[in-house]
Symmetry: C2
Subunit: 560 residues, 2 copies
């Protein structure tokens, strides 16, 4: 192909972006329903959200993927392209996406707002400060840290043990030097010296809380339940005991309101919240998805990482709070990525390799089985890439047919919504069959061990769970505190179904090793750590920021 | 008085706030000139700012004060009330104020948006996240820190000496535990261990830069000039050498745009930027004041602390960049504060004490002499307080008359613009005389020692300057680098004309001790430290945040 390929930012900046009031009008909202942030971004008011409560829900489509590989799958791009395709089919469609984190934007090229001709805009704003939600979360998170240190400094009535504070500070940046720090140095008037660390903002429990809270009252309640650490008797201490849940809610009063933007093809997109998909649940906010369901006939949303992490958490953690299960699931894959799951190195992906594709298909197959266990219909979306050969496409078609798997090729990156029309048709057809019969994997009342066992055996295809001595001791404590009633949020490598990142395809006969649990009672789940989880990324040798600039009228340059 | 006194937030929330588009219209701006942030806040676009460039300037009124005391003077309140009074007199008036910092809001009651019936609104938003300017500055500041640490981690081509990095991280919170920290702990992949510290965001050099930059191009140039530290050969290293000025400008592309809000009486107010008044120059932004001068027939603006710090820096640092000097200066005082300068303890302020008032008048007198040295006319505004006795008021009137000092009583806190009408009339009359003949205190070409000498002898009324050994050595280095051509930004206690905070009234025969200089080459000045300057406040035992809350519709409660 000799066609000139434009960068994402070139396409985005060349696009005609409609006034957001006009986009709002297309889904029945007036200017009064909006709090504008410039001309192309808006928040919806609480009054508007309340007024929609009794409306019927639209159909919900969840986009997930195979285990991600360095080859890239394009889940956000398919989400956007499918939304545009549904709009083209005359369906009133609203997309519900996560907000990107600013930190990685400064580090490595690549935004989180789709790509090519399937993007949400204004992408340069969405990838930078957007409407300030993440900054509000950063501020609330760090205000709480300041309140904790101040409490200890001013007499420590709650007997907080400075060695057992689990609440960390955050910045929305990639900054490895802040991973492990010592604070409170400099003598008695500068505070109590202690070890601390900074996570990236998307790893803050407050990010997860914003995404799971149903309204301001629920937000405040969840904030009050956060466990910030332990006292000298090793008993947990909550924000409620410190008394700052009101102030934190005040700091977050606008951050809870969902943000309305649009795709390049003017489909309304609600972009709101963006928790980690390992130590949190990796989905956009309840308030965004709920609002989208009231405004759209069809809603397309996305979960983080592969179906083993993102979709499982969407279905076991988010759906109960949302009160609505998906009507259809889309599982995104690429032929390149499947070849990697079949053992091909990234450098060899340009060459045809049907055998590797067939081997890698096992990964995709496992995820379809998992979705079926949740009682949900699905469609595979194969995101086309220029190096895919006819033989490879044909082999994949045959594999899907032989396994009775509905699938569709998509070309949304190159063609926008038009490239997603076949996928949209398949999805509409699955939804019209009305076969969705959502069943949650476990009940909250089950024990921590039973929940883990179900996730590992049924979703990962593993043999079972091995608990560290620490994890075993924690379970005893958690039962005592009544914390065993919470759902489990698995923190596992996204690259493999197992806890071994290099084990691609469909590994078998493996055990998942639980090192430690982290109670996230505000978010309302218990994180199970299976290994080291990176909660603060670093910058590369030549950060993307070195190429960034802005012209004299404030237009972004060099952003992707 | 048995009259019920409402709190600032009660008055602010009960007020009828006009749509900001309507306020904009009153000064000739259309909806296209605005980027809305909700219904009552907006930023002005760069196109709009450019289009105003050739318009004639309005008259500029600078509000300053005597040396502040714990009794409170109400400088912002007078600024707002005077603006409203000028509006009532039929003058097209625009107020230009600083943005408040969020940190102190969480700590001790008291906003920075005026008080009583002389406030800018929406005060709850302005005192919290507002339009995100401070968050953008925090992010840019800390991105630079991450870039510095990453540079060292990735080979350290510039030979940055980790012991001589002067660029600190920031948060917009009161957090004493972050004053002195060690970062980069945890082994070789977590960065280079080094001492660091966090300032509050308003102390960031980037805050001063945002306030002195004339446009995006100047902003980028200033960012590139920032000295982040020194290499092993003790030579300075700038942001330009690191190559990140483009990315930092991109992060600040919206933060440089001035924000439009309104007073309770619907006078347009441009609220933008808020640098410290000790280690920085303490004035709102050039872009705000410049824009206000193009839009208003009269512009009322404010400088930080007392006239010895705030007004001196406004006149010696800001005016040259602004290209416009004040047409009149207002010096705010209260009888209570003058009594404190005359030796009365805060607990005794309720009792009449004419003698102390007369003694304290010396402080006010010195500031009027300083303003005269700058060639500017002035009016004293005595902000009335309930405990002022008739005898005290009469004594003050006599003192002013005897010294030929124009003065006016104001009641803007209680009565809004109506309470400022007499002051407005005095100010208009001074301006109509056209006697303003601005003379800068020093030339940039003068030596550092000569500039210091002039500030100390002419403005503070001191004998001269004593330089520490370190400061003397720094002057030698600074001359070598060509840094002696910058203006001086004094970091001195605000409570006294001297560098001894307890020395109230009009001290004499004192020497100012310069401990150290800090080059702020992006801001474009050299800070002269006269003692310890607190750049990160702490929280009190019972922070104001404990009383804060929000109702189910997102309305703030307990904020002041």
């Amino acid at each position: 192909m000799t066609k000139e390929v434009k960068s994402d930012i070139e396409i985005a900046l060349a696009a005609k972006v409609d006034p957001i009031t006009q986009i709002a009008e297309s889904i029945g909202l007036s200017a009064d329903d909006l709090e504008l942030y410039g001309k192309t971004k808006a928040k919806l008011t609480y009054e508007t959200i309340h007024s929609l409560e009794n409306k019927e829900n639209g159909k919900l489509i969840l986009v997930t993927a195979i285990n991600p590989t360095p080859a890239g799958e394009g889940k956000s791009t398919v989400t956007v392209g499918l939304g545009d395709a549904l709009s083209r089919k005359g369906k009133k469609t609203v997309i519900a996406l996560r907000e990107p984190s600013l930190g990685p934007t400064m580090g490595i090229k690549g935004g989180a707002t789709g790509g090519g001709y399937a993007q949400v805009v204004p992408m340069e704003d969405i990838n930078l400060h957007f409407t300030g939600d993440f900054h509000a979360i950063t501020t609330a998170n760090n205000a709480l840290s300041a309140f904790i240190d101040n409490h200890m400094q001013q007499g420590n009535d709650l007997n907080i043990d400075q060695r057992r504070i689990v609440w960390k500070r955050v910045v929305d940046l990639n900054d490895r030097a802040l991973r492990k720090v010592v604070v409170g140095l400099g003598g008695p008037i500068q505070g109590i010296p202690r070890e601390d660390g900074f996570d990236i903002t998307v790893a803050s429990e407050i990010m997860a809380i914003i995404c799971l809270a149903t309204d301001l009252k629920d937000l405040k309640h969840r904030l009050s339940e956060i466990v910030i650490g332990y006292n000298y008797a090793r008993e947990p201490i909550t924000v409620g005991e410190l008394g700052y849940e009101g102030a934190l809610t005040l700091l977050l009063k606008d951050a809870l309101k969902p943000n309305l933007v649009q795709t390049l093809e003017h489909t309304p997109a609600i972009v709101h919240g963006g928790p980690f998909a390992n130590i949190a649940h990796g989905c956009n906010s309840i308030s965004a998805t709920k609002t989208a369901l009231k405004l759209g006939e069809f809603v397309v949303t996305e979960a983080g990482f592969g179906a083993d992490l993102g979709a499982e958490k969407f279905l076991d953690i988010k759906v109960p709070a949302l009160g609505k299960a998906p009507d259809c699931v889309v599982i995104v894959a690429t032929i390149r990525a499947l070849k990697m799951h079949g053992g091909v190195a990234k450098t060899e992906l340009g060459s045809e390799n049907v055998e590797a594709l067939k081997a890698g298909f096992a990964n995709l197959k496992k995820h379809t089985e998992s979705i079926q266990q949740f009682g949900l219909p699905f469609v595979i979306a194969i995101n086309k890439f220029i190096t895919d050969t006819d033989n490879e496409v044909k082999a994949l078609e045959e594999l899907c047919s032989a396994n009775d798997i509905p699938f569709s090729l998509t070309e949304v990156w190159e063609k926008g919504g038009e490239g997603g029309l076949p996928l949209a048709e398949k999805v509409i057809s699955e939804i019209e069959k009305g076969t969705a019969n959502y069943t949650r994997l476990y009940d909250d009342a089950e024990s921590i061990e039973a929940k883990l066992e179900k996730i590992v055996t049924k979703i990962y295809g593993g043999m079972g769970v091995e608990l560290s001595t620490k994890a075993q001791k924690q379970i005893v404590d958690f039962k005592k505190y009544g914390w065993d009633r919470y759902p489990i949020c698995m923190a596992k490598t996204q690259y493999s179904l197992s806890d071994e990142p290099t084990s691609l395809g469909r590994p078998e006969n493996f055990t998942i090793h639980i090192r430690e649990f982290i109670p996230k009672l505000g978010a309302g789940f218990i994180v199970a750590l299976t290994g080291d989880v990176m909660t603060m990324p670093g910058l590369p040798k030549k950060p993307a920021a070195l190429n960034m600039d802005v012209d004299e009228n404030g237009n972004a340059m060099g952003l992707f």
